[in-house]
């Protein structure tokens, strides 16, 4: 049987005297699109960072692709791409040059400008320093695609994007999934994100509150917070 892409049991992460994440049991299968939702500071980014092996866990067990990060860090990292808050880019280089560096360091051949076309950045030869926040996000997305991961971890994929960018994210997530890539995203745009995901997890103050089909995510959110989910701006009446 193929191992779970993500398996955690009793996963906890502490920053100093504060538990940012606690008692989390999670199983994500290959090819799933999984949504992590919660308010700001609720532990979404902490969870993604632990899954991305950026920071170690404090307690509990974690295995990725059936491997423990302590033993097989390099092999795990080769399979993972992480869309973090910081874009992980060189500000003085252009979009194409940033991707070029990535390909060389991965030892892969550069597929040329097709990736940049996909994210709508093929006409920008200037350095990243002059890009807007949304354009950096698009470039970070190109970076994730370029890594051809088996597990893509996306932290606020809709953040800083325009409505057209929202559609683009949906398209790119579909594309990742069609390659068999497992997608885990964290977002507080529950309405938007739950439409493209299969399953969802709701965390509050680092504790898991609900897990279930993404279709019910909005109801779970409403139940917990006693009001409707925040909607993407362009859909507001």
């Amino acid at each position: 049987m193929e191992p779970m892409v993500v398996h955690t049991s009793g996963l906890c992460r502490r920053f100093g005297g504060r538990w940012a994440l606690s008692r989390l049991d999670l199983d994500i299968q290959a090819g799933e699109k999984f949504l992590i939702m919660g308010e700001n500071g609720g532990g979404k980014t902490t969870l993604l960072s632990v899954l991305a092996t950026v920071i170690p866990r404090s307690r509990g067990s974690l295995s990725l692709f059936g491997m423990e990060p302590e033993r097989h860090l390099t092999r795990i990292r080769q399979k993972i791409a992480f869309l973090a808050h910081l874009p992980s880019l060189y500000e003085d280089l252009s979009a194409a040059e940033n991707l070029g560096i990535l390909f060389r360091l991965m030892g892969a051949s550069n597929p040329g400008s097709s990736l940049l076309e996909q994210v709508g950045l093929d006409d920008r030869p200037d350095p990243v320093r002059s890009y807007s926040a949304g354009m950096r996000k698009r470039l970070s997305f190109a970076r994730v695609l370029a890594q051809r991961p088996d597990l893509a971890l996306l932290d606020e994929p809709f953040g800083q994007l325009d409505p057209e960018g929202f559609n683009l994210v949906e398209l790119l997530v579909e594309q990742l999934a069609s390659r068999g890539c497992t997608v885990v995203m964290a977002s507080h745009l529950v309405d938007r994100a739950s439409r493209i995901c299969d399953r969802a997890l709701l965390i509050q103050k680092g504790l898991p509150r609900w897990q279930g089909p993404a279709a019910s995510a909005s109801r779970a959110w409403g139940l917990l917070y006693g009001h409707e989910v925040p909607r993407a701006r362009e859909q507001a009446p």
């Binding site: 005297g17 538990w19 606690s22 008692r23 680092g206 504790l207 779970a220 409403g222 917990l224």
Partner: protein, 230 residues
């Protein structure tokens, strides 16, 4: 009685005995006269400083190896003691050098490398004070400590070679057997005191570090939301 208190007490007694012997039981030094008696204070201070830095170095390796904060407490306390002893060392040296050589400072290899070692480890303490995340602070301190310690002999020999061209390094000469006993006694006393102080300081550091890094109880898992009821 805690072991560090025992060490402090016995160290103080042994050192007092050593200094009494050095001050009253031995004849004045052949070349330097009465000022030569600072030897019984100066040489043990130097050895104790090296001992403190050596402990810091070993503890830093332990910290990198195991990743345990207990080692970090030892690093912190040893460096602080080392810095204190090196400051004392430089003052004693100057007090001795003025009547003997007529100058406060000379570019002698031992003196210069002590000064460089001192500023290097003060730098490590400053670095330590600006990093707030305990695990990161431990690694950063350990790396800087190892680099600074390995540097000590290198600095010593390079300065020795460098200054030997300008002037011959003054040697205190060999130590007569009649002076060896009080010297050894004070050296042991100082070493006991140093290790005792490091032990006491370490306990404080460990208390602070473990409070900083104390894990509060895990929050209770709330009951899962029931969508059917809602």
């Amino acid at each position: 009685m805690k072991w560090d208190h025992a060490l402090l007490l016995s160290g103080a007694v042994i050192m007092a005995v050593g200094h009494c012997m050095g001050l009253f039981a031995t004849p004045p030094e052949a070349y330097m006269g009465e000022t030569g008696r600072i030897l019984y204070l100066h040489a043990p201070t130097a050895w104790a400083a090296m001992l403190a830095y050596l402990l810091a170095f070993l503890a830093a390796i332990g910290a990198l190896w195991t990743g345990r904060l207990a080692w970090d407490a030892t690093v912190e306390s040893s460096i602080e003691l080392g810095v204190l002893l090196s400051v004392m060392l430089l003052f004693q040296g100057s007090i001795w050098a003025k009547p003997t050589w007529g100058i406060w400072w000379t570019w002698d290899a031992r003196l210069t490398s002590t000064a460089i070692m001192l500023v290097a480890f003060i730098g490590v303490l400053v670095l330590r004070s600006v990093v707030h995340q305990p695990a990161r602070r431990m690694v950063v301190t350990a790396v800087a400590t190892i680099a600074s310690f390995v540097n000590v002999p290198v600095v010593y020999f390079s300065v020795k070679w460098w200054s030997s061209i300008h002037q011959l390094p003054s040697d205190t000469g060999s130590v007569d057997t009649i002076m060896a006993l009080p010297l050894a006694v004070s050296a042991f006393g100082t070493a006991f005191l140093t290790v005792g102080f490091i032990g006491s300081r370490r306990r404080l550091a460990w208390k602070r570090l473990s409070r900083e890094d104390a894990a509060p109880d895990l929050p209770e898992l709330p009951p899962p939301l029931d969508l059917e009821v809602g």
